[in-house]
């Protein structure tokens, strides 16, 4: 199963790269009579998803083996373990597949359906360990996600209604992005207003924008680490992807003002909400979850600010955040597996001593995620704040900085306190090729990308930004 997974994800990754190349060459790619439609934006999302999936697949091999030994998967005799593993290795590809499908689907309804499937699948990944808490987390995730997605569906539907004049209602193409995007200007204004609100709240729930964010800390802290990493980086991108699609429609129909203001509202709210929880957090995987909420807010703000700068910042941030956050989750996973706890109070410090590589990587990733140069997230956040101030949203910019500093302080105090210091009596960690390998790969990517973004990737990002700003 392991090897099958690995090979599969490797293949998917290659396909994704090929797709990105095609898109860079051709601009847009569409297949199956326009059922599949890919522009730079979807190509970027696909690429990021595929790469995260590959790394996590590599990591999860070592991770699950460790779980097997430690008996976290139930006893081997009664075949529980093998059942668990089978479940994991079936669900994860399904999960990733539905995300990729979502990204390349042309039809907004199909996009929605794929999104729903990601939820249903990931619910089972959250219940993976079958603990009391994981069930609770799964329940909250399922219910809130379900509500959110039904709102999104409602929105999609209203959007369809808004476009009914232009296209045959029965025809499949009525919900096709490629069609709607062309006639965006003629869409029915009032319906689009309603549609955007519903969609924003719906996909915002998946993206974890406050106040729909409440399921996130629970799900992330209960899911197995690789799944949590995918959830927090790739799935976030996908949810934002859906939002962006509708944002484009709405802004072309109503002008950027209306959706922009709503997005800024939710974005600032999410950033603000995440601050106190980071400051007084006791559990480091929940802390990471709140940081993801924070970053969802940041990207929503970037989208809301719009403009060339804002959109470029958004796409760069999406890319950088995917790398840094998945690295952060994976290294944190090492820690929680080694120390058998997620609580700061249990880990007095000394991670750097007990597990040097993980400690350093975790510290790097944490610094990157809280926007410390030379790591690249600073660049995108710089762009976003610049976009805010250039477009006269001084207040937004100031709040952005303020909340950013709050998260910085909290994360630094907690995670720093966990990593540094004397290691006490915890035993040194052994060598873990699978996990260390994937960590090192991601970490080097994180460092390199801070100084040098490969030209094709940068070009892809720029084109994606252009898709959003609509030139």
């Amino acid at each position: 199963m392991e090897s099958a997974n690995l090979v599969g994800f490797g293949a998917v990754f290659l396909v994704a790269v090929a797709l990105a190349a095609r898109v860079l060459a051709a601009g847009t790619v569409s297949l199956a009579k326009g059922f599949f439609y890919t522009d730079a934006l979807s190509a970027l999302v696909v690429l990021l998803t595929a790469s995260v999936a590959l790394v996590c697949a590599t990591y999860s091999i070592g991770y699950l083996r460790d779980d097997q030994q430690s008996g976290a998967l139930g006893d081997d005799a009664s075949g529980e373990q093998i059942a668990q593993l089978r479940m994991y290795y079936t669900l994860t590809p399904l999960f990733v597949f539905s995300m990729l499908f979502m990204a390349v689907a042309n039809n907004l309804g199909v996009m929605w359906a794929a999104m729903e499937i990601t939820t249903l699948v990931s619910v089972f990944l959250v219940t993976f360990y079958g603990k009391v808490t994981s069930l609770e987390a799964a329940w909250k995730y399922a219910i809130i996600g379900g509500v959110g997605l039904s709102m999104a569906l409602f929105g999609t539907l209203v959007a369809y209604y808004a476009g009914r004049g232009l296209t045959g209602s029965a025809a499949l193409s009525g919900l096709n992005w490629s069609v709607l995007a062309q006639h965006a200007a003629q869409l029915d204004k009032t319906s689009m207003r309603l549609a955007f609100v519903l969609v924003l709240m719906g996909y915002g729930t998946k993206a974890g924008l406050a106040p729909m964010h409440t399921w996130k800390p629970d799900a992330y802290s209960e899911a197995p680490v690789p799944s949590a990493a995918i959830l927090s980086s790739a799935l976030l991108n996908c949810a934002l992807y859906c939002l962006i699609r509708f944002y484009i429609l709405t802004s072309r129909c109503l002008g950027a003002e209306y959706p922009g203001r709503l997005l800024l509202l939710f974005g600032l709210l999410s950033m603000g909400v995440s601050v106190p929880f980071v400051l007084v957090q006791k559990n480091f995987r929940r802390l990471l979850a709140y940081s993801t909420i924070d970053h969802a807010g940041i990207m929503a703000i970037a989208l809301g600010l719009g403009g060339a700068l804002g959109n470029l910042g958004l796409m760069l941030h999406m890319t950088f955040h995917t790398i840094a956050k998945s690295l952060l989750f994976l290294s944190a996973g090492n820690v929680s597996q080694h120390f058998r706890t997620d609580l700061f109070s249990k880990i007095k410090g000394g991670v750097m001593r007990a597990m040097p590589l993980t400690g350093i990587v975790l510290f790097m990733a944490m610094l990157a995620i809280i926007g410390m140069p030379p790591f690249s997230l600073f660049q995108s956040e710089f762009l976003i704040v610049r976009a805010a101030i250039d477009s006269g949203h001084i207040f937004t910019g100031v709040l952005f900085i303020l909340f950013g500093t709050g998260v910085f302080a909290g994360a630094l105090v907690h995670v720093g306190g966990m990593i540094l210091g004397p290691s006490g009596d915890t035993e040194m960690a052994g060598r873990r090729p699978w996990r260390d390998g994937s960590l090192l790969a991601l970490a080097s990517a994180l460092v390199v990308i801070g100084f040098w973004v490969p030209a094709p990737l940068l070009e892809l990002v720029r084109q994606a930004a252009r898709v959003v700003s609509g030139q």
Binding site: N107, G109, V110, W112, A113, E116, I117, L120, V123, F124, T127, G130, V132, T133, L135, E136, A137, A138, W139, K140, A142, I143, G146, V147, S150, L153, F154, L157, V158, Y160, Y161, R164, S169, A170, A171, L172, G174, L175, T190, S191, L194, P217, D218, S221, E222, F277, V280, Q281, K282, N283, R286
Partner: protein, 224 residues
């Protein structure tokens, strides 16, 4: 048999049934027995199917028959059966105490209906012929009331039911606004609803297993 082709007539019928659906939804808000709750849901779904069929008949939108049939199959037969079995399996038919008491919740439901109309009002276009425009109002109200029921319930199963009734609202909106979505999308959506119902059912069952109850208000370990 002329009036059978009369849009006016069709509109009346649709509106009437929509009203019935709404009433059932409010009834669900106050309902205290799970089994009956399920049955009400079934009935509601049945009327939805009927609405779909009517619209299909009067607007000559054949694919809505499919939608109607699917609704019948999934929401009137399959899901209720599934849930009733679940209820039997877990022998939970004891009363469920809502967070907001009955009368007040009915009042709230009424208020939400009002909101529904306020929202739908901006969509009302007398110039356009066609039926069930005020069905949108009902749809939004269904959605909101279903949502409210989810907040109001403590039992996992009833939350699921509320979620499904909320999706009924969506369905109503779909058929009345746009005479249904593109076929493939509809299929996808029905499939999703089915899967969602099953997933949630399984979750409810496992929660029952681990917590010895399905009281979600006890699921409060994860905080902060």
């Amino acid at each position: 048999m002329t009036h059978v082709l009369d849009l006016q007539f069709g509109d009346r019928i649709v509106t009437l049934m929509a009203a019935l659906v709404l009433v059932l939804q409010i009834a669900m808000v106050t309902q205290r027995w799970i089994v009956i709750h399920i049955r009400i849901f079934a009935a509601q779904s049945f009327f939805l199917a009927m609405i779909a069929a009517t619209i299909a008949w009067f607007n000559h939108a054949p694919h809505l028959y499919v939608a109607a049939a699917l609704t019948l199959a999934v929401k009137v037969v399959l899901v209720p059966l599934l849930f009733e079995r679940l209820v039997k399996r877990m022998e939970i038919h004891e009363e469920i105490e809502p967070i907001v008491n009955g009368p007040l919740s009915v009042v709230i439901a009424g208020g939400l209906t009002l909101v529904g109309y306020v929202v739908a009002e901006s969509f009302y276009r007398p110039d356009e012929p066609g039926l069930g425009h005020n069905a949108l109002a009902v749809a939004v109200s269904l959605f909101l009331i279903g949502f409210f029921t989810m907040i109001n319930r403590r039992k996992a199963l009833t939350q699921v039911l509320a979620l499904l009734s909320l999706e009924n609202g969506l369905f109503l909106a779909a058929i009345s606004l746009t005479y249904g979505m593109p076929m493939i999308v509809e299929l996808g959506i029905f499939f999703d609803v089915l899967v969602a119902a099953m997933v949630l059912g399984i979750l409810v069952y496992r929660i029952r297993e681990t917590f010895e109850s399905v009281d979600v208000s006890r699921l409060r370990r994860l905080r902060g």
